[in-house]
Each structure stands twice: as C-alpha cells, then as structure tokens.
Symmetry: C2
Subunit: 242 residues, 2 copies
Amino acid sequence: RRYCTRMAAGDGPLLRQLFEVESSTYTYLLADRATKEAVLIDPVLETVDRDLKLIRELGLNLTVAVNTHCHADHITGTGLMKKRLVGLKSAICKFSGASADVLLSEGDKIAFGKHYLTVRETPGHTDGCMTLVLEDQSMAFTGDTLLIRGCGRTDFQQGSPEMLYKSVHQKIFTLPDQCLVYPAHDYLGQTVSTVGEERQFNPRLTKSLEEFVNIMNNLNLRKPAKIEIAVPANLVCGLHEV
Amino acid sequence: RRYCTRMAAGDGPLLRQLFEVESSTYTYLLADRATKEAVLIDPVLETVDRDLKLIRELGLNLTVAVNTHCHADHITGTGLMKKRLVGLKSAICKFSGASADVLLSEGDKIAFGKHYLTVRETPGHTDGCMTLVLEDQSMAFTGDTLLIRGCGRTDFQQGSPEMLYKSVHQKIFTLPDQCLVYPAHDYLGQTVSTVGEERQFNPRLTKSLEEFVNIMNNLNLRKPAKIEIAVPANLVCGLHEV
Ligand SMILES: [Fe+2]
Ligand SMILES: [Fe+2]
C-alpha cells in the first residue's frame, strides 16, 4: 500500500498552486515529472518573476500559458512570459474575444508530457470561460466559474447567471465527487475543494436555478478596481501594458 | 497505473491548507478519510470560525489542535477551538514553555485514524519548535523552522541560528527529496516546496554554518507587530485573549 502511494506520487503530475495577494488570484503550474513539460494556468503580471524563477529551478520546460478566461481583476502574465520564454504559446478559449496563439474549444486537449488537460466550456461568468480537467478527472481548474463555496459574478463581460448555473451543473458537478476543485480565486484563505463538497455545500449552486438567478442579480457588487485597464489588456495577452 | 493513483488518493490522509492573510499563516487540516479523525496544525484565532465550519461540513472529528511552536506573530486559535469542541486536546512541544493538554517531544506520535504525525524537535527559531512528519515521510509540517526558500528568524524567543541550522540539516534535510514541505508561513504566495528543492535552492540553508549565522545575525528585522500580545497569549493556548 505504501509502495503504491509513493508510485502514485511520482506518477501524477507535479502541481504548484501560487497566490497573487492583490487580486487574490491562484496561478497553477502543472508539469510532467519525467519529461519536464509544463503548463501554467492564469499567470498574473505582478508575479511573473516569481513564477519564472520557480520554473527555472524545477528545470521545467513551459510550453503553454493558458488563461481560463479574459480576467477583469488583474492583468495576465502571459504576454510578458512570452517575451521571456522563447517558444511559449498563449492559449485561451476561442469565445473569449481575446487573441492568443492557441484558441481552445470544447474537448480540446492541452498536453504536457504524458498528461493532458481537457477543455470544458463553462460560460456564465464570461462567454469564454473554460474549466480544465486533468486526464484522470482527479482535478479541475474551474477559473471563476466555480469558486470554493461560491462562484464568479455574472454582472459584466457577457455574464449570465442562467448560463453559469447550467455550466456548473452540466460540466463540473458531473465530475467525480473526489475530483479536486482548484479555482482562480479565493478571498478567505481556502486553497482547494472537491466536486462532492461543492455539490453539497456551495451556498449558491445548491439552490434552484430560479433562486440562483435571483441571488446573482442582487449581489450589488462594485466593479473590479482594474476592469478598465485589465480587460483591454487581457484581450491582447496583457501585452500593451508591459 | 490509473487505478493505483485513485487508490492512493483515497488512501492518503485528507489535507487542507488554509491561509490567514494578516499574519500570512498556514493552518493545516489533516484527516483519516475512513475514520474521520482529524488533526489541526497551527490554527489562528481570526479564522477559527472558517476552520470549524469546514471541519463540520467534512464530517470530521477533530481530536488534536497542535502548534508547531509558541507563535509571536498571531494568537493561536487553539484555546477558542477547545471551548467550541468538547474533547479537543491542545498540543505543543514541551520545550515551548507553553501550557497545553499534551506536551510533545522527539519521537512522539500524533495519531488520527490509521495515520500519524511524528514529532521531530527542530529548535532554533524558538526553543520549542517542532517539525511534524507524516508516517510515510511524504510530507513535513516545518513550522517556522524551514520556510519556502527561507527560514524563521532567530533574533528573539530563544532564537539561535546555530541551532536552527543544525535542526534543518539533521532533522529535515535528511527526509526524502520528494517529501513535501508545508511551512507555517509564506509571504510570496508560495504554498508548498519539497525537501530536495530546499536542499538545493534555499538561499540561506545552502550556505555554510558560518555564513548562515552571519546572514541571520544581520537581518535587522522589526519586531512582529503583535509580539507583546501574542507570546503571552500563546503561552496559555491563546485563552486569555478570548
Ligand atoms: Fe474573472
Ligand atoms: Fe514563529
């Protein structure tokens, strides 16, 4: 049994969760332990140097930097990373309206060594939101679609509570109970959840569609501080800011 | 191979890393997936409600709340948790000078279901610092002894750079390369490291003892904002503050 655990630890991808404190954003670094091919999910402009240092120390070959959607609360680090790492490709959902080297849609795979992430389109927070699911469905990177005991807002950037509800129920809650949920943000110091937990305890998504829409339409949130800068920048990979 | 990974995921303990933003402290919740027995490492007063809610939702039976040392930068949540959870025992190293239900020393085990943490005394940041190592040496909770690419300061609370250096080299760097390092703090958004990485890249602990002592004696850090409140409070489980 112990042998098996150790084998598995060496067999699954390397995963590093990294936090950017100003926007409360999680960046995820995933890599094949053998080939060293790596993927970075949702890098933030302010932490590009930290992330590149880690990638260098771990001896990884970062091939793809992917954004789960066109963020409104921070500027992506993708553009700056591309300037620093020759051959790095940016990727985003083709419905995001943003430019990138690779435009992804439902069922597309992002490969890194023997591992891959599969794209599930999960619009609702924005039109171009994706959830990225590891090949064995042991983890899902849900962007702003599903947060820990929460979800992304739906009051700007083509947001639609009906669409978000449908995305979560059809594309995320259908994953196995034990599938780990890694969101793009958390504001309470939580780092991870599971599909089973969110299906049971998410205070919004456990409601009926009608109640959910009502909740989302009455949040009365302030606009993100950086939205006027972040969205135009993120539509061009963050490049015009750097 | 995939079957094995899944088995292992269900076989290892449940682990939740939780962050308290004001003091940049990580709290760790560990549990046996079958028996639901749980241990909490370094709870923070301000996040007791969050942690108790999660424990309740996951259906866990928290039996021990352990502090890796007598903290100077935040008040422990242990005392308040004991008031809220009947039967919960507090634990700390017997050399910490603090009171608790269980006083731990080298080689002691903290059991939760079929799992256990083994105490390794790692003084240096304080006299009563411990590192807690999971039974299969797949992870170590290093408190302030070893941080990610750093280490705890040694300029108060019986701090000794010589002792810290020895503790890290004899008690932590002797763990397997792939052993995950979970520190009590991180100030750069990093969540985890490995023994192998720190042995190779820690900018302080890779130096000679002489150089290390020199670095540590010239940090010129300000005193933690809360030290006058936190240390006396933590000597009595945080109880006099609640
Ligand atoms: Fe967003
Ligand atoms: Fe400390």
